[in-house]
Amino acid sequence: MGFFLETLLGGLMAGMLYSLVALGFVLIFKASGVFNFAQGAMVLFAALAMARFAQWLNTAGLGPAWLVNLMAFALAAVVMFAVAWLIERLVLRNLVNQEGTTLLMATLGITYFLEGLGQSIFGSDIYKIDIGMPKEPVIAFQDVFEGGILINLEDLIAALIAACLVVALSVFFQKTGTGRALRAVADDHQAAQSIGIPLNRIWVIVWCVAGLVALVAGMIWGSKLGVQFSLATVALRALPVVILGGLTSVPGAIIGGLIIGVGEKLSEVYLGPFVGGGIEIWFAYVLALVFLLFRPQGLFGEKIIDRV
């Protein structure tokens, strides 16, 4: 029983980490209808930027660790804003009104470009992001369950950060003027344009926010695993979360993340040994697929309406 709870907890934490990445997908799709396959590359690029800036600032001896991290974060955020602006300017503006497949492929092209650029500028070694996360495990409830329940403090803090981010995003969307404008654009581009909302600027803002989300996700994943090229593959793990929760729903990304995280870990630990192990990845996709069969638009997505 204790081990089941442990696996469950581990799954929930992993799910929150996936949600962080999935949030980026959802944000961009909500506001511009583009499925941003490049989110993984953006996470990698942001994490590389932050790791390397921290390293360079450290060797320049610019102060205590927390200040260096803060400055690195700020610098990386600026870099991500620049990337967002460039993407909107060079790519999206020229692909207005193209169909979904084309935009998808364009973001795939951006993925390759960012991967190449990130590694050219920042290097392809493993880099460290040290934001002071606790690395040792905490074993709780040792008297209740045999062996206790393992609580990974780093994951817990990461989950809290993700939750804060979601709250911040919700406040941004509901309470601020820009947030309202974003929601308007997500509803109907033409109507939003007709009441004077500048589409191009909104898209830049959305990609900037998504870039920031990517940076936070990159920072947390990087702190956990080290920043290296394979961080970009995390996006493939977050895709089932997006389609399970629905492409247009922020709470969907969270709930979907939790479901996928728990499903993955439980299946790997309890079903895996019977079939030899390694079933995590495809199980997550099959789980999402099964949900889709009952709700083709995802759990919280907009119902798909076809007009003939």
């Binding site: 081990f3 442990e6 696996t7 581990g10 992993a14 590694q119 392809s124 070694d125 493993i126 460290k128 690395k135 040792e136 495990p137 074993i139 393992l150 990974n152 780093e154 956990k224 695993l225 080290g226 290296q228 090229f229 394979s230 961080l231 593959t233 995390v234 793990r237 993955e264 870990k265 790997e268 630990v269 895996g272 040994p273 030899g276 192990g277 390694g278 995590e280 990845i281």
Partner: protein, 440 residues
């Protein structure tokens, strides 16, 4: 709209016309292709190896080459992908390579099929097919200095020693956390054989490449509570495994890694958290005081000719690259002894050279490997030449040797190699080479 169309058609015709046929190599120079990976998930480990390899070739050229035959080399980026490795091989084949090394077990499998037809020996120092040590079946493969079965066997020997003897292993549990690929699956037959003989339980835990997500694996380790964990990973998988071991509280002293999972790159980010982690070494470990290291620093890096950063010289993977290059070069030199000193050797001749390699201790010392390597001597039947290993442990800052020189147990190894090689021979309808064929 017109301009892009014209531009595109021009570009396409340029592409068609200028996909250059490779230039034929100068017949006066010995060409060595360097299939390496400096990008992708395995780059952190592949890059220092490639740097060491190329640095040694540069050193050889500085000393005048192999009996005054200069070495030319060309790197080709494979990204640890088998298809790209094959493409690199095909592209560089026409330059008459002396030998090919792939730094990838998957690519070794693929190129093993092509090399005999192309007459190019495949040098796989410390990786590749374990059964290719049987030279009577695998004429063109050379897993010199050690194969994965040697690594697995000596790891088990070290574990047995720690327990106090092979009999103490009965009833214990060993978990193998491995990279789910031909590379990771290599040790399984040998460890299963040992488990059968000595009565311990082997739990197999595959990790999907590139191995960035291992939470579930290590939760399973925490539940199963194995007495030892053998880590068989490469690239990012290694550091992730150690980080997850730390996060689930598995004692790093009970972890033993293969020689590709025991380098600075795998532990430096975890530093103190990896203290006590052990790994087997293929003869050499981290040798900052070796003569060859000093020579490379003085002759190559001091002149700004170093391929990578100076700090890397003397580290585990860098030295492995140096060792691989050295063995290849000595194979060519040995071929020159028979076929003509000072002449450029063909692939076939280098094959003979690698098959008749006799690196005695005085020779190794003279090359700068005193105290680093032990003698290697290959023959027609034995393409491995030596099976010496040691265990080194990370103390938080450096890799420190914590065992004596060990050798794999021939009693276990030889029958397994022969049986597997026979199976390959039967499948490919090859006959075992006999005495006469061995003389060529």
């Amino acid at each position: 709209m017109k301009k892009p169309v014209l531009l595109l058609s021009a570009l396409l015709s340029a592409v068609m016309l200028s996909s250059v046929s490779p230039v034929l190599a100068q017949s006066k120079e010995q060409f060595i292709p360097v299939l390496s990976y400096r990008t992708g998930p395995y780059a952190p480990n592949g890059t220092p190896w490639a740097n060491g390899f190329v640095d040694y070739l540069k050193l050889m050229n500085l000393k005048g080459g192999i009996n005054n035959v200069k070495i030319t080399y060309e790197e080709c980026e494979t990204g640890y992908d088998t298809a790209r490795s094959v493409e690199c091989y095909e592209r560089l084949k026409s330059k008459k390579p002396s030998f090919v090394q792939t730094l990838s077990t998957g690519a070794t499998f693929a190129i093993t099929e092509k090399a005999p037809g192309d007459k190019i020996p495949v040098l796989t120092v410390g990786y590749g097919r374990s059964e290719s040590a049987d030279g009577a079946v695998f004429k063109w493969n050379f897993p010199i200095a050690g194969t994965y079965w040697v690594a697995a066997d000596t790891i088990m020997q070290a574990i047995a020693k720690k327990e106090g003897g092979w009999d103490k292993l009965k009833g214990k549990k060993v978990a193998l956390v491995y990279h789910d690929s031909p590379f990771g699956k290599e040790p399984i037959p040998l460890i299963q054989e040992r488990a059968r003989i000595h009565g311990f339980e082997l739990q197999l835990l595959p990790v999907t490449p590139p191995g960035v997500e291992q939470k579930a694996t290590w939760l399973q380790v925490r539940q199963a509570k194995p007495d030892y964990v053998v880590l068989w990973g490469w690239g990012v998988m290694n550091s992730t495994a150690i980080k997850e071991a730390q996060a689930t509280g598995y004692a790093r002293e009970k972890m033993y890694g293969v020689w590709w999972a025991g380098a600075e790159q795998d532990v430096k980010d975890v530093a103190d958290g990896a203290k006590g982690y052990n790994a087997v070494t293929i003869q050499h470990g981290a040798e900052p005081n070796a003569d060859i290291v000093k020579t490379l620093l003085a002759q190559i890096h001091a002149k700004g000719q170093g391929t990578g950063p100076k700090e890397e010289v003397g580290q585990v993977l860098y030295l492995r690259g140096v060792m691989s290059a050295m063995i290849g070069v000595e194979g060519i030199r040995s071929a020159q002894e028979r076929f003509g000193k000072g002449k450029v050797m063909t692939g076939e001749q280098v094959r003979w050279g690698l098959e008749n390699l006799n690196l005695t201790q005085p020779k190794l010392d003279a090359l700068g490997f005193k105290g680093v390597m032990r003698p290697i001597s290959t023959s027609c039947m034995d393409h491995m030449g030596a099976a010496w290993t040691r265990i080194h442990t990370w103390d938080g800052k450096n890799w420190v040797f914590t065992s004596d020189w060990m050798q794999a147990d021939e009693q276990i190894l030889k029958p397994l190699v022969k049986a597997t090689a026979d199976k390959y021979a039967a499948e490919k309808k090859l006959t075992r080479r006999t005495g006469q064929d061995c003389q060529s």
